[in-house]
């Protein structure tokens, strides 16, 4: 940076800090501090103490008219790469100052660690103000989230500040998906249920089949008509599988009496794999598939029933049944009669997550062993949860509040 000695002195709001150009280089050229030290702005820098640019003891001093306490934290972040916020310092204040210096991304990166289902801590509970139940919560790639509530979608950035909500003139929002950090895709109920999943292309369905929309242009690109015997029209779950280039479609209880899970190949327009429990479930007490998710290796699909048993279906065999692995005995069954939510499944980084009533269970390893349970004392049952941006968001049914779970930064030693 063309400064002698590599030392830099700042006077921030009256408090003097001294640091090195190396430390400041961590801020990057595209930050206020980077620009401040850039040679184009330092043709004749203010020299204090040394007098004269070439002197060995000459250290440049820059005055910055900002909060010194926050600067101390941010300078520490640049020095060590880790964020330590003193308890008396409000986070919002720190965020504001970080934005001034152009260091907000640094703060975000240091704020929480890489996602690990077994080390999650409850970071925040954000109360909602909308009446009625939330229907869906979705995590944004940058750590923000959005909650679908009746006819509106409440959007939160990663600092959990609420942004302007999106509302769609009283039509019911069915599902939401992030195309990227700044673009939200919303599926509203027009006539019948419709839902989207944002994958290379965005399929959604109506009563007859599944449509495909181009994610860039927003135009409809394809439509998959419902073949006989396969209920696609009101599927609960769509999931795009990259490795096989197929879309998994699951139509499940209670929308239909008979569950159907299929893989669609859009190039050949056919169902390449399917499973259904038609004919096997006789009474209400039988195990019924309530949610399904394709595992990350894309070789099997995991399903869950009303007793919170996990089951697996292998994509490679066409006629196989569900391989249930009962875990009912591991769990404390809830008192029947209390209002409950249907369980949901999700996968991330080789771990499987299932929500059940008021807790989320984390299963790890190829055998899906229960390794952690996320539970909060109040808030009621969890109706939806979503993982993204290294955070887990859980939406509670009763109090209209959502929890944010994140992995703390790695320990110092």
């Amino acid at each position: 940076m063309g400064l002698g000695g590599g030392r830099v002195r700042f006077n921030v709001g009256g408090q003097v800090f001294e640091t090195t150009t190396t430390t400041l280089a961590n801020a990057g050229r595209d930050s206020m501090l980077g620009a401040l030290l850039d040679s184009s702005w330092n043709l004749a820098p203010t020299i204090s103490g040394g007098g004269g640019g070439g002197g060995g003891g000459g250290v440049a001093e820059y005055f910055i008219d900002r909060n010194p306490a926050c600067f101390a934290v941010l300078l520490d972040l640049l020095r060590t790469g880790s964020l330590h916020v003193p308890p008396q310092l409000p986070e919002k204040l720190l965020y504001r100052e970080a934005l001034y210096y152009g260091l907000l991304d640094h703060v975000r990166a240091a704020r929480w660690g890489a996602f690990d289902g077994d080390r999650l801590l409850l970071a925040a509970s954000v109360p909602g103000r909308a009446p009625g139940d939330g229907t869906a919560i979705r995590a944004a790639p940058d750590g923000g989230c959005c909650v679908a509530h009746g006819g509106a979608v409440h959007v939160y950035n990663w600092m959990l500040d609420e942004r302007r909500p999106v509302s769609l003139d009283h039509s019911q929002v069915n599902d939401v998906a992030y195309l990227d950090e700044g673009t939200l895709l919303i599926a509203a109920r027009e006539r019948l249920g419709s839902m989207m999943e944002a994958w290379p292309c965005s399929p959604r369905f109506n009563e007859y089949g599944i449509g495909v929309w181009d994610r860039a242009s927003g135009e409809q690109a394809d439509f998959f008509y419902e073949p006989p015997g396969c209920a696609l029209g009101d599927a609960d779950k769509l999931q795009w599988l990259d490795a096989t280039n197929a879309l998994m479609v699951a139509t499940l209880f209670p929308k239909t009496d008979n569950c159907f899970i299929g893989l669609l190949d859009f190039r050949q327009k056919n169902v390449v794999w399917s499973w259904s429990d038609a004919g096997t479930a006789a009474s209400l007490d039988d195990k019924r598939v309530l949610h399904a998710i394709a595992m990350e290796d894309e070789r099997s699909v995991c399903v869950i029933n009303q007793y919170d048993d996990l089951g697996f279906l292998d994509f490679r065999s066409n006629a196989g049944g569900v391989r249930w692995s009962s875990r009912s005995k591991l769990m404390n069954r809830k008192v029947p009669g209390e209002e409950s939510c249907y369980p949901k499944l999700s996968t991330h980084g080789g771990q499987l997550f299932s929500s059940m009533n008021d807790s989320i269970s984390v299963f790890s390893g190829p055998e899906c062993v229960l390794t952690s349970t996320l539970r909060r004392s109040n808030g009621g049952a969890i109706c939806d949860f979503s993982i993204g941006g290294d955070r887990l968001f859980a939406l509670h049914n009763e109090e209209n509040v959502f929890d944010v779970w994140e992995t703390p930064p790695p320990p110092i030693i």
Partner: protein, 732 residues
């Protein structure tokens, strides 16, 4: 004011903002405006970045973002308009330099302006989906300067003019060119493409279309191609020096189209210098260039290939049908081999060993070699020549390479069975006369034939070698077993298996009594050891060594054929014999006898007999005497038979006839094999299948196949289907 106080405590900090100076924006903007002015005037050293940044921050924070953005746009536009005036004023060659200088200034200023407005860049611009400050500056430069009425055309003309001058050999300021095109690229690939690349390609196309027209009128093909290559290299170098790398492909396509593709036919077919000429004159360098240049042209290689193929076919046809050349078979084959060598080396060195060219070459050779049906014979004669004793190629390795080359020609032959026939004859001659130079070379040739055509092809030839080996053992056995031979002449018997050897029907001559005795004893010995065999003396094939003492006292050992021996032995008893006497006593067929008498009496230096009268032809009443005056420097005198190496016309017909006869059972066998597995087949399919099966040996004639089918129907191997006459059924 009062109403705001009632709000919740969270909003309280906003109260101070309301009290801010109503002229805040104007004041703050003036500060920034002045600073930007200083920056454009290269006078930024007095500015405080922190202060300016904070000012801009406050403006955005106080919701003045839109206004700030508009003011900034307006301000930059103003500065750029000033710059435009000064660029427009620049004269001639200074124009580009001035443009460049201003571009550098603008870039530097833009960087600093962006630094000041970094906060706006981060917050206001993305949420409002505006163009970022830096990109805004570039867009303004593009619209205000590069695309302004007075500069746009002038810039393009200047650039194209400089490029044209460089093409004409002038030296231009390349670094200025580079920085100017770099500027266009920085403004976005569409600016570079629309404002420079497209017109550049158009101008280049017309330039090269004109140049190629000029060149082609006055240059030979090789020279033209050299120039085209040079132009291509120049353009590639130019792109690498001062254009976007993506232009390389496009300008190359233009040059290739204008200089090569548009003139391809004319260049390749050019009289006196085109492809044919290059091939004839072995101009490897030009051929290499042609190959590599026309690689870029669609259909280029296939055109070269087809011209080469037709040339090879044409010259080949002339070569094999020229009656002059047919006189010397060895030379004929040598010429073919040379031709093949020539084109092989052209393909290897100039056509980068291209497989498709090799294939084209092979099919051309196959085409013309089979135009002359004497080729199988000639090739066999050539091999005979090479494998005979006493040839120059004593080196076995040299022979080996020659044989390998011959095998290449052999592969082109369609009538391989004809070759086999001739090869058998020639091999038999070599083996029996003991003229085979090297057993190893002979065997290596056999192995080559075997790998090429399979076991069947060579089994009889191998049988010949085995016969010779066992004959040696048998002769030894004979001498070991019989002790009472006295002073009878030593004989060496070669027992030839019937069928393995090419035999001519021969009426055995009457042998001299001395020989007759020994040979009868041998017959007795042989039939005694082998049951159920028949032994026929092939007196037309043997040789003999005779010790002779002439009247003048000179002693010689004469190496003669069996027939000649029979004749000479007669002179042990009498001095003078007439032709008729000799014929009656020896019972040698007239043709052969005449030939052997000619060689005994009429060849200078080897005339052990004297004929009266001394005429060339032999008539019934001619008298023969021992030539007492015979002298020779050598003790051993080899008396050859006046023999024709090449087959005579009737012999040729006969061989052909025999080959045709031999083919019949082969065709029949193939038909039966096919029908046995297929049971039912129509005529055309049979013909195709049979041809496919027999192709490695010869090309069966469909008419012959039809005749064979009919013959098989007659002999009840096959029958026609009663419903569909086109179908044949196999009868088990």
């Amino acid at each position: 004011m009062s109403s705001q106080k009632k709000r919740s405590s969270r909003i309280e900090p906003f109260r101070h903002r309301v009290e801010t100076d109503p002229n805040f924006f104007e004041k703050a903007w003036r500060k920034l405006e002045d600073a930007i002015g200083e920056i454009y005037n290269h006078n930024a050293s007095g500015l405080s970045f922190e202060e300016l940044y904070r000012t801009a921050y406050n403006m955005v924070l106080h919701k003045h973002g839109p206004k700030l953005y508009d003011k900034l746009t307006e301000n930059m536009k103003g500065h750029l308009q000033e710059m435009r005036t000064s660029i427009e004023a620049a004269q001639g060659g200074l124009f580009l330099e001035e443009l460049q200088r201003k571009w550098d200034d603008h870039n530097k200023a833009l960087q600093m302006i962006r630094d000041i407005l970094m906060y706006m860049d981060r917050t206001f611009i993305p949420t409002n989906k505006k163009t970022g400050v830096f990109d805004l500056g570039l867009e303004l430069w593009r619209d205000t300067i590069v695309r302004s009425a007075k500069i746009h055309g002038r810039l393009l003309d200047t650039l194209l003019d400089l490029i044209h001058r460089e093409r004409m050999g002038e030296v231009i300021n390349r670094s200025l060119m580079r920085s100017t095109t770099k500027m266009l690229m920085d403004l976005g690939s569409s600016v570079y493409q629309d404002d420079f690349e497209r017109p550049f390609l158009e101008v280049s196309a017309s330039f090269y279309s004109g140049e190629s027209q000029r060149f082609i009128e006055c240059c030979a093909c090789g020279e033209y191609l050299k120039k085209a290559q040079q132009r291509l290299d120049e353009e590639a170098e130019r792109v690498s020096q001062y254009m976007d790398a993506k232009t390389d492909e496009k300008i190359t396509a233009v040059v290739v189209k204008e200089m090569l593709a548009n003139h391809m036919q004319r260049l390749i077919l050019m009289d006196n210098s085109g492809l044919v000429n290059m091939l004839v004159e072995d101009r490897f360098e030009d051929l290499t260039r042609m190959y590599s240049l026309f690689q870029r042209v669609h259909d280029g290689h296939s055109t070269i290939k087809s011209v080469m193929t037709s040339h090879v076919k044409e010259t080949g046809r002339n070569m094999v049908t020229d009656p002059e050349r047919l006189k010397d078979p060895v030379d004929f084959v040598q010429k073919l081999l040379n031709e093949k060598d020539k084109y092989d080396s052209i393909v290897t060195t100039s056509f980068s060993n291209d497989k498709s060219f090799q294939n084209a070459l092979n099919s051309s050779f196959e085409y013309f070699i089979n135009l002359n049906n004497r080729c199988p014979e000639f090739i066999s004669l050539y091999v005979d020549d090479k494998l005979r004793k006493g040839m120059k190629e004593a080196n076995e390795e040299a022979v080996e390479t020659v044989l390998d080359k011959v095998m290449m020609l052999f592969r082109y032959l369609q009538e391989k069975d004809l070759f086999e026939k001739y090869y058998k004859q020639h091999l038999a001659k070599r083996l029996l006369s003991g003229k085979a130079a090297s057993d190893d070379s002979e065997r290596s040739m056999l192995v080559k034939l075997k790998t090429e055509c399979g076991y069947q092809f060579t089994s009889k030839l191998e049988g010949m070698f085995t016969d010779l080996k066992t004959s040696q053992d048998t002769t030894q056995g004979f001498y070991a077993a019989s002790s009472d031979l006295g002073d009878a002449p030593t004989i060496s018997v070669q027992i030839l298996t019937t069928g393995s050897w090419p035999t001519q029907p021969c009426s055995p001559c009457s042998l001299p009594p001395e020989i007759l005795g020994v040979s009868e004893m041998f017959r007795g010995y042989y039939l005694g050891t082998h049951n159920g065999r028949r032994l026929t003396w092939q007196t037309n094939m043997g040789t003999a060594d005779i010790k002779a003492v002439f009247g003048n006292g000179s002693k010689h050992e004469l190496n003669v054929s069996t027939y000649q021996m029979c004749v000479l032995m007669l002179f042990n008893l009498v001095d003078c014999l007439t032709y008729r006497d000799i014929e009656q006593t020896t019972a040698i067929p007239a043709v052969d006898l005449k030939r052997c008498l000619q060689s005994l009496a009429l060849v200078k230096g080897k005339n052990v007999l004297r004929k009266e009268p001394m005429s060339r032809d032999i008539s019934d009443n001619d008298n023969f005497y021992v030539n007492d005056k015979f002298t020779s420097k050598l003790f051993k005198v080899k008396i050859g038979t006046v023999a024709t190496q090449k087959e005579s016309e009737p012999e040729k017909m006969e061989t052909r006839q025999r080959v045709e006869e031999d083919r019949k059972p082969q065709i029949e066998a193939a038909i039966v094999r096919i029908m046995k597995s297929r049971r039912v087949l129509d005529h055309n399919s049979i013909v195709t299948e049979v041809t496919k099966q027999l192709q490695p040996r010869f090309m069966p004639n469909p008419v012959v196949i039809k005749k064979r089918i009919e013959s098989l129907i007659e002999r009840e191997f096959l029958e026609r289907d009663k419903n569909d006459r086109k179908l044949y059924l196999y009868l088990a």
